[in-house]
Amino acid sequence: MSGDDQKRTDRAEEFVQLFNRGAEFTREIIRENERLRVELVRIRDRQESAAQNPRDWSKLRQELLERIQSLERECTTVRERLDQVEQENSDFAQRYVEVEEENNNLANLYVASYQLHSTLDLDEVLKIIMEIVINLVGAEVFAVYVLDDDAEELAPVAAEGLELARFPKARLGSGILGKAVASSEATCWNTTSSRDLTQPIVCVPLSVQDRPIGAIAIYSLLQQKDGFSPLDHELFNMLGGHAATALFAARLYSQSERKLNTIQGFIDLLTN
């Protein structure tokens, strides 16, 4: 067989194979078509039979209506529960903020009282009182007053914002400061500064067991502070008790140290 004949034979075989595959594909389509036709007839029969049987139809409809009502009730209940949960969530968020604020306030009070009682050195105690009033309260001009031994006059012993000598002494029971200390009642005016050093905006009497020992007088607040918060009032209360106790203890300790030194000196004198 020549080369040309061989090529023709190969092409003829390819064509036959292609034709056979086409024929097979066509048969498959016809079979699928037949199957779908039967399925369609079955569905039509079922629909016609359902439509022709009103009792079944009505029953089915009733069942579906009941199901819809049940789902609607369920939906309402779920919505109500969701509202409740959202409300609870909001309450918890609000409570969280309150607890957080309370926590911060307690931290401030704890740190302040911890620092006040961390030393028995009088200068250190005064320094700590100053730090608390500057950093925690936010005061710019203020002074710490101590009542003299005769319990008659309040004299400034430490100050911030102005020279110590500029702060006037006050007699117990007279003037804003003297009256506040005599009554052991803290006073706080709703203003952020006073230029008159006889009229502080805040007086915090320092007393130990109702015995007045001094006061903190604030004359102006830092410029970024525009008023007093509940924490400030808590701090004033805390300072009124704890700063007083710390000052009192430091003074007693200092006096006892001095006495101890005197006695020791006396003993040394006698024994040598």
Binding site: E100, A107, Q115, I134, N135, V137, G138, L222
Partner: protein, 125 residues
């Protein structure tokens, strides 16, 4: 968990303790305290810190000088710095920010505000 090292440079022990209290609420934070600018410079130069909280008015070396020195050092210049100060004037804020502070908070501090700023600068949740 990644550990963040925080340096507090503050001369007031009361403020330091208060800041430590606040920052302890962040998980994985190690806090180191310095009591003035010089102490702060020594500590920040000798160890790695992820953030520094610096007061302005301090003995020995003030906070502004410390910020200038930190920003002048190649190895330290990227440390986030939060200034915490009593100075509330606009010009004080501008000066500190111009020197390279990232945030400027005034006293009395709100613990939540400090935490929020530190979280944001450390990029922690």
């Amino acid at each position: 968990m990644e550990k963040h090292r925080v340096l507090i440079v503050e001369d007031s022990p009361t403020m330091r303790q208060l800041l430590v209290f606040a920052l302890r609420r962040l998980r994985g934070v190690e806090i180191v305290e310095a009591q003035d600018g010089m102490d702060g410079l020594r500590k920040v130069s000798s160890d790695h810190y992820d953030i520094a909280l610096i007061d302005i008015n301090m003995p020995v070396m003030d906070g502004l000088k410390l910020i200038r020195l930190i920003r002048g050092e190649d190895a330290l210049k990227d440390i986030p710095i939060v200034v915490i100060t009593t100075e509330g004037a606009r010009e004080d804020r501008d000066r500190a920010l111009a020197l390279g502070a990232n945030e400027y908070l005034t006293k009395p501090i709100q613990a939540n505000r400090v935490l929020s700023v530190v979280r944001s600068l450390l990029k922690v949740g």
